[in-house]
Amino acid sequence: MIKLVNISKIFTSGKSKVEALKNISLEIKEGEFVAIVGPSGSGKSTLLYLLGGLDSPTGGEIIVNNKNIDLFSDKDLSKYRNKEIGFIFQEFHVEPFLSVKENVLLPTYFNQKSQEDKIYAEKLIKEVELSSKINSDINTLSGGQKQRTAIARALINKPNIILADEPTGNLDIKTGEKIISLLKNSHKKHGVTMIIATHDEKIAEAAERIIKIEDGKLCS
């Protein structure tokens, strides 16, 4: 269970302040597929990054599995991101000098690595239909293939939560649809809580619940 209580986030740059999130309270059940929908700059990505422990809120509490993640130390927060969260980014963020398999295995570098990880990585790569590219240089892959690599990477540590920030934002419509389909399948197959931030209402339709956000506030 994820619970956000009165979350606010203010970005400060010099003397100017931008209030990205304004007293957001929200609950997401375990295993739920949620789409956070809003226009660019509405605060949906910020909300996702706060949930993932990549930044801390200015006010409020983020409770994940009954624990306030804002109180975590750097080590605990890293462990939380490593074990509990799988990130998928709009710009893929794959390591350019690693192969497909090495990219998928990247999160395992920061925990107790086992031989099973490699087998599981191969299984996930097969699942995202990249078996033929398993040892390929990531730079030779298309955008859609890179994003599929990122999906496999997000799943490698068997996280409870997948956070996808505009996962189709840099892809054409057809490839985007395939990625959404893959995310839906992954949600079903792995039973993860899937939270997608998107500005595209069509993509959001794949989710079980849509949360609208505008100007840092929830609309529904």
Partner: protein
């Protein structure tokens, strides 16, 4: 796995990595060359000193509190060296042999014809038992040498080896004269004029002449004159000196083992004599060499620090350039420590590679330098095998120092990289 990532990063950024390796290599090579040179010169000097005074030798003087030429000229003060001194010193446990040195107690001049020129100069004459100089006289393998007789000149003369260097460097090279070497001087005839001086008017008449023949060169003999076997100087004193009494200028004490030398020297000092031995002199020379080592060490340190500053700026630039990568690693579970370690591993690998390269460059540089320097020294009696002494411990120090400095220089960039906000890096 972090190490694997670091290696991948190094491979990915080949050009910068190579520049980093070269920076460290230059610093480490300077350490190897400068400290190796300082060590080498020290070792060569010690070896050179050992030629003149082996580790089993103690030189005993009357206790005049004077040293050098002054002590040679002053044999009147302190505890004079006579036969009783030889007897007392010989009784000390561990003493193998005592060799006395006497001098001709009158003025003397030597005249030699070299390269078509005739040279005449005042000179001192010293007498030492043949046995002491046996290794420096090629034609005399058995002692006493049956070849020479006090009643039939020529008398054998041994010349200080360093005199050759003095002639070659102070006279021959500046004046464009031919260089001299031992081979072409052995067998050379020299005329000795006893009681004759080119300086003092009261001894300006040549009253007699005796032919000498150069039979050897030695590092052990006095630098300020020619040395003859003991009985020849004794004979000259009997014949020409008003005071022919045997008063020894100095004694050369041969010990049974180098380990006993210091202890025996102490016992000689308690008898009231002044005792010098190589180990004691080495300590003094070593203290002086420390200044050279420190100076060269500081120069190499400055070069190495410049290299580390270059590495630091490279890593700072790389850390900023890799913001997104660092953000991603943080997103997938890397702690701040992981990020720091990732960059420090890279610095360590660059440091090790740079240090190894620096050691190789330093070693090769020393070989090239040696080649030229040793050929320049070939005309002198100072001809060490190498001017460098690059010991395994120096290589170890250079390797550790280069690697540690590389890691230290990357510490600040690593800290900056670990403090990057992943949210800002990924957006």
């Amino acid at each position: 796995m972090l190490l694997n990532l670091s290696l991948q990063n190094i491979k990915e950024r080949k050009f910068r990595s190579i520049l980093g390796i070269i920076s460290i290599a230059i610093g480490v090579a300077s350490i190897v060359v400068f400290l190796g040179l300082s060590n080498g010169i020290k070792t060569a000097t010690f070896k050179e000193m050992e030629k003149g005074s082996p580790l089993t030798q103690i030189t005993v003087h009357p206790n005049t509190n004077k040293s050098g030429v002054v002590s040679l000229l002053n044999t009147s003060g302190g505890n004079r060296l006579g036969k009783s001194a030889i007897e007392n010193i010989s009784k000390i446990s561990g003493v193998k042999k005592v060799y006395p040195e006497i001098q001709f107690n009158e003025f003397a001049s030597l005249e030699a014809g070299i390269l078509g020129f005739s040279f005449i100069t005042d000179s001192m004459l010293f007498g030492i038992p043949e046995e002491f100089l046996q290794n420096d006289i090629p034609e005399c393998t058995n002692v006493p040498c049956a070849k020479w007789n006090v009643n039939s000149p020529p008398y054998p003369a041994i010349i200080p080896r360093k005199l050759l260097d003095m002639y070659n460097f102070a006279l021959a090279i500046p004046q464009g004269l031919p260089l001299l070497n031992e081979k072409n001087l052995i067998g050379k005839k020299i005329m000795l004029y006893p009681k004759y001086s080119t300086f003092f008017p009261e001894a300006s008449n040549k009253t007699d002449e005796i032919e000498l023949q150069v039979v050897g060169f030695s590092d052990k003999v006095n630098l300020i004159g020619a040395t003859l076997p003991y009985e020849f100087v004794q004979e000259l004193n009997k014949k020409y000196a008003s005071n022919s009494e045997d008063q020894y200028l100095e004694l050369f004490v041969e010990t049974e083992s180098p380990d006993l030398t210091a202890d025996i020297a102490k016992q000689i000092e308690t008898l009231g004599y002044s005792a010098n031995y190589l180990q004691k002199n080495l300590q003094e020379v070593e203290a002086k060499f420390k200044y050279l080592s420190i100076s060269l060490g500081i120069i190499s340190l400055i070069i190495l620090i410049s290299s580390t500053i270059a590495i630091m700026s490279t890593f700072l630039a790389v850390a900023m350039e890799r913001k997104r990568e660092i953000g991603l690693l943080r997103a997938v579970g890397a702690t701040k420590l992981h990020i720091r370690m990732l960059i420090l591993y890279e610095a360590g690998i660059i440091g090790i590679a740079g240090s190894i390269l620096g050691i190789i460059i330093g070693k090769l540089g020393s070989i090239v330098f040696d080649h030229f320097a040793i050929s320049q020294l070939s005309n002198t009696t100072f001809n060490p095998d190498s001017l460098f002494n690059i010991t395994p411990s120096l290589i170890g120090i250079a390797l550790i120092f280069g690697t540690l400095l590389s890691i230290l220089s990357a510490y600040l960039p690593a800290k900056k990289a670990s403090d990057i906000n992943p949210f800002e890096a990924l957006r």
